[in-house]
Amino acid sequence: MADPEQTDPDQANRGGEPRLRFRTDEASDEPAITLDAFLEGQTNATAVRLEAGDDARALLGHLDKVALVEVSFPTFRDGRGYSAARILREGGYTGELRAAGDVLVDQLPLMRRCGFDSFAPEAEIDAAALERALTRYDYRYQKAADAAVPVWKLRHG
């Protein structure tokens, strides 16, 4: 992995381009606006950025107008974005859901399970380590926002 010190976050996220994307549709190149700006309604923007403390539920009435939600992870220790992702997916959001910021390889499998399908990490993620992380677990105990079938369902059908 590259030395994180040498990776400029602005460079990494220039134009909102994600480094890792698990979608087949075309990526949005629109810069994301703040939740407040979006909710004011004076905009045609379809890309919204949620800060860690923003209430994802505020977006639920507007999901048909949104194509990209970028959720900020100011530090990898701040786990609020995992709940934001679940709430959006549970609310029926099917657009691009991007984790941006201090996103590390060991968190990525959990984020995928919460519904993130796009990632803009500040520091480069080693492709081999990511491949190992994403394929390591065959089974999951819980039902979450991904397609994984929980173990209890495998046990009982």
Binding site: G79, D106, R136, R155, H156
Partner: protein, 543 residues
Amino acid sequence: MYKYDQYDQRIVDARVDEFRDQVQRRLSGEMTEDQFKPLRLMNGLYLQLHAYMLRVAVPYGTLDSRQMRMLGHIARKYDRGYGHFTTRQNIQYNWIKLEDAPDILAELATVEMHAIQTSGNCIRNISSDQFAGAAADEVADPRVWAELLRQWSTFHPEFTYLPRKFKICVIAADEDRAAMRLHDIGIQLVERDGVLGGRVFVGGGMGRTPMIAPEIRDFVTADDLLSYVEACLRVYNRYGRRDNIYKARIKILLHEIGADEYRRQVEEEFVAVKALGVDPPKAEFDRIAAMFAPPAFDAAASAGVDRSDPDFAVWLDQNVSAHKQPGYAVVTISLKPIGGIPGDASADQIDVMATLAERYSFDELRVTHAQNIVLPHVAQADLYTVWQALTEAGLAEANLDLISDIIACPGLDYCSLANARSIPLAQKIASRFADANRQRDLGELKLKISGCINACGHHHAGHIGVLGVDRKGTENYQLLLGGSGAEDVSLGKITGPGFDEDGVVDAIERVTDRYLAERAEGERFLDTYRRIGMEPFKEAIYG
């Protein structure tokens, strides 16, 4: 007890592989210590004062002889021949090398054990009543619920980076042997109109701001358990404080918004989560419950014990409890020999306990939050033989719930957070009260020592609590009276100015002397304290 199937085993094996990979990336410098820290913590690996400490999970404190022997093997092979049983019903090893940790996890995985989530800001090992399945007063075996929660919480994708650690406890009796209401979530199983459900308490805890959990829901059935708890956690994950590590536990959130507002938010979230289908079907509950079916007790087992050996009779009265099955008994093995380290057991002692469990307790052992070991299902006819074997192994101290049955954190001898030593103080107190008759005369007296305000030694819940602090560079001990972690839960109050190590032992003696002078017939220390209050004790201590 619970046995892994192929799914459980594959998940634990994958974790070994994952952690080996993470350690490798750390050792090669690919990962910084800052990045590695939360990952190793989620695998129970702490950096202490002198070495790494590895905490191994003992789910709800239950294990079999094969697992117990593995714990002894690890003590022998990777540590200095000892294991330390903890207040979270786990075991920890204090002298571990980082590069050995993946191999230790691989060995643990061969006996269905792991160190998953024994630390870190995630959902920790689920704790429970050490008498589960044996207690006459339980409405059901709480471990079935605890196992449902164990699986649900293992690598929960949403709740692995919580504001702070999160501890859940499940009990099923009115008598609380597990300090249920001092957990982030405490669940007490109750029966209502023939249906089993849980009373849910949220926001208890010790630490620097101790709180007793208020009841948040009076009844949740097993069908709704996981979605309800998921809702409880989601509200916390979203709104728990992250600006100050000392205010990040869920108890602070409850304190700040109030139990009513928290309850309202959880109910709202519960409606959303319930619709997702996160609750397993009844068949899964039944599958787990079948594994906790009572062992094949001998219905003809004879009741009654020959008490002619007076030393045995003393141990019998102190360390043996009633069992729900006629002819059987519950044995608590004290890991508190006078002058010993509370909770420590040598590899050889661990082996002895494993063998006794295999022969005399249907292959089961329990770890208690008071840092003792339980043989839950011993035929009364075997008690004398068991006692003899324990005596030979130095494990027959007859002091359960007496003043020398001390809970103590590792303190400044090991822990990098500690302000004061806990272990030498515990040894001094136990030695001062070593006289067996004197201890028994004092009766039930739960003494708990923490070496700093994080309260790992549960000092807030001690009938007598001791808190070690740093006062201008020297160790100083504050004394607390009147706490309880049981069904009569309460938080201790500080007596006044602190003491040095010898001074606090003297102060404790003045407190117990005053108790003996004041007690009414049948009163425990705690009862007398509650009746007469702090003043007489203050007067005895400070004159």
